[in-house]
């Protein structure tokens, strides 16, 4: 195998602590065709009656304990947390009321997976973003990087882990539905391939333009998500942040890609300066 200078530098860099690896794109799964085939869900807010069957089904499947008060009374959670991977909230303002479901969005190019220093979060080829607890060191970078504030932490535990929806990746791999969409009695939450879900969503908007916002939330946000939304109330009012189309890993990747050049460039510059400033040393010594 012929090794040119650049290849050699790459190998040397890897040896120096993996500061470079010949990886060419920001994400393995940014291929649009692959994203179209990925597992996805569509939440149709006007169809949701807020029964929370999805929440209960999720808790059962994920083995998350219900949060009870001191009288053993169950209290509905207010926010996603380490015991709640999904939650139904009610917006009851001027344009409401409307329910909204929160859970991991399973971004096509997830910020969490890109920032995790040990690769504990992984974007699988099927679509779900899964958490490898056995790798996690607990830096919580995923929590700060997620634009949807999804990963939550077990703050009360001595050995804490990240908690977030895993899209029932194991069930979906077997051809089953995620537990939340399976439990939905009204058809507000349906699952399927992302391409199909988008078609369904746009059809619904086309048929009832007075019922829905013209945009499918999640189609383009931060490069697209596997969780898609339809709503009558504006998405921002439902607590879904207003985000650009650019994926977040796309911001950091150019910097990370430049790392080897900065590293060896600086080495080259410093060596050159050294030889320049020390060019008369021998004469001095003599």
């Amino acid at each position: 195998m012929p090794v040119d200078r650049r290849e050699f530098l790459k190998i040397a860099g890897a040896g120096l602590g993996s500061l470079m690896l010949p990886i060419s794109s920001a994400s393995a799964s940014s291929d649009p065709k692959e994203a179209e085939n990925a597992f996805a869900m569509l939440y149709d807010a006007p169809k949701c009656v807020g029964c929370r069957a999805c929440q209960t089904a999720c808790k059962t499947r994920a083995g998350l304990s219900p949060v009870k008060d001191e009288n053993n009374l169950y209290e509905a959670p207010m926010e996603l947390n380490s015991e709640n991977w999904t939650i139904i909230k009610l917006y009851d303002g001027e344009d409401g009321p409307s329910f909204v479901k929160n859970q991991c969005m399973h971004c096509i190019e997830p910020a969490c997976a890109s920032v995790c220093p040990v690769g504990a979060l992984e974007k699988t080829a099927d679509g779900p973003v899964v958490y490898h607890a056995e790798r996690c060191i607990g830096c919580r970078y995923c929590m700060t990087a997620c634009p949807f504030n999804v990963p939550k932490y077990q703050w009360d535990k001595v050995e804490p882990f990240i908690q977030k929806c895993d899209f029932c990746f194991d069930l979906q791999a077997k051809g089953e539905q995620p537990k939340c969409s399976e439990a939905c009695p009204t058809g507000a939450l349906i699952s399927g391939r992302r391409g199909e879900m988008l078609t369904v969503a746009h059809d619904r908007i086309g048929q009832q333009p007075d019922v829905y916002e013209s945009k499918v939330y999640g189609e383009k946000e931060v490069g697209g998500t596997s969780m898609l939304y339809l709503s009558k109330v504006s998405y921002e009012k439902l607590g879904l942040p207003n985000l650009n189309e650019k994926s977040l890993p796309e911001i950091t990747w150019p910097y990370m890609k430049a790392v080897p050049y900065v590293f060896f460039g600086m080495g080259g510059i410093m060596t050159a300066i050294y030889y320049f400033t020390h060019r008369n040393d021998k004469e001095e010594e003599a």
Binding site: L19, V118, I137, C139, K152, W155, G267
Partner: protein
């Protein structure tokens, strides 16, 4: 015994009341850190809506930034060949070495699963800025240990290791500069993935450059402060000539930073956020004027640089500017739940800083860090 330990002996510098307080605070900080390992992170005020607290903003972001003096002074002395500055090199390398150990120690306090820090070695994600920082810091701490080791070998009278280390000094220094350039800037890259979280007055695609430049400026300022303090504590002459020469470059570095950052604010149109909300504007102005512009003007003036009070104050402002910048970008103006550090978080942060001072003090007392007071039998 004496022959074995060579020049490692207790030097009887006076122990002031301040040092005793530092010992106590250091012990308290370490105890609380141990307590945190036993009971977990619940004793902090961090939460799901605020996953990073002062351990990240102060100990990691600011601490590593202020420790940049080690690579900068090494570059100035060995690469730029300003040998006159050599006398401050040893304490500066030591300060850097201790700072990096402390940063690693705080990281072990902050990580949810500190026992797994070694996972960085076996699980790789080259996309992650934190992965790169982790590796750079690990290697650079080793480089600093090697850069510092001649003092130890010298004191012990070990000739062979000393000879080997001296031979690779220049490659080590170059490697140190390469690694520092990377991780100092990558601390900025770390925050670039949060465009929706960080206030536009601080968020910028140029944060890697900003973090690198401010680290050089504040690292040199930290060197001034440390030199001044050592001189006072250990009855040395304050090497005003040296630090004055050293800080000559600060106006260029921080001046460049100031011009680019203000320029970017106007070119990107983000200046509209100035005066929209009072707190960000107020703190931005304090940071940029008090922590950057005024220090630039002060260090540019030879009268200030050649005056002990002047140069120390200018150094203080520069260091404050960096700390403010890191806090503003990674905590104060980062969206999230309300957060004020718990007492335990503060004790750990302050206590571990005191541990650093204790380690420095111990090194000065046991190792030949400064020229010895001349005795009659010395040549």
């Amino acid at each position: 015994m004496g022959a074995l330990l060579g020049n490692i002996k207790l030097r009887r510098y006076p122990v002031g009341i301040g040092m005793i307080l530092i010992w106590l605070t250091g012990a308290a900080g370490l105890s609380v850190a141990v307590y945190r390992w036993i009971v977990g992170l619940r004793i902090t005020n961090m939460s799901d809506g605020r996953p990073w607290g002062i351990w990240i903003s102060f100990d990691m972001m600011s601490g590593v930034g202020l420790a940049a003096g080690a690579f900068t002074v090494a570059a100035v002395v060995y690469i730029f060949n300003l040998k006159k500055l050599y006398p401050i090199l040893r304490p500066t390398i030591l300060t850097g070495f201790i700072s990096y150990i402390l940063a690693a120690l705080t990281l072990l306090v902050d990580l949810g699963l500190p026992g797994r820090i070694w996972h960085l070695l076996i699980f790789w994600n080259v996309h992650s800025p934190l992965f790169e920082i982790g590796w750079c810091v690990m290697i650079y701490t080793t480089v600093l240990a090697l850069e510092f080791s001649p003092i130890l070998f010298d004191a012990l009278g070990w000739k062979v290791p000393l000879k080997i280390i001296r031979r690779i000094t220049i490659p080590l220094v170059v490697l140190g500069i390469m690694l520092s350039t990377l991780h100092q800037s990558t601390l900025g890259t770390m925050l670039t993935i949060m465009p929706y979280r960080i206030n536009p007055l601080w968020y910028s695609g140029l944060m890697p450059l900003y973090f690198f430049l401010t680290a050089i400026g504040a690292g040199l300022a930290m060197t001034v402060f440390e030199t001044y303090h050592s001189a006072r504590t250990y009855q040395q002459k304050f090497e005003l000539g040296i630090v004055s020469r050293l800080t000559k470059g600060i106006p260029y570095v921080l001046g460049t930073y100031f011009v680019i950052r203000i320029g970017e604010l106007f070119i990107s149109g983000n200046y509209v956020y100035l005066l929209q909300e009072s707190w960000p504007t107020f703190l931005f102005l304090i940071e940029m004027i008090g922590g950057v512009l005024i220090p630039v003007l002060l260090f540019a003036d030879p009268r200030v640089r050649n005056n002990p009070t002047g140069i120390v104050w200018a150094a203080f402002l520069t260091m404050g500017g960096l700390i403010m910048n890191r806090f503003n970008a990674s905590l104060v103006f980062m969206n999230g739940d309300f957060y004020f550090p718990s007492a335990t978080e503060m004790i750990v942060s302050i206590g571990l800083t005191c541990l650093g001072i204790i380690a420095f003090d111990a090194a000065v007392r046991f190792l030949p860090m400064f020229p010895e007071p001349k005795t009659s039998d010395e040549i």
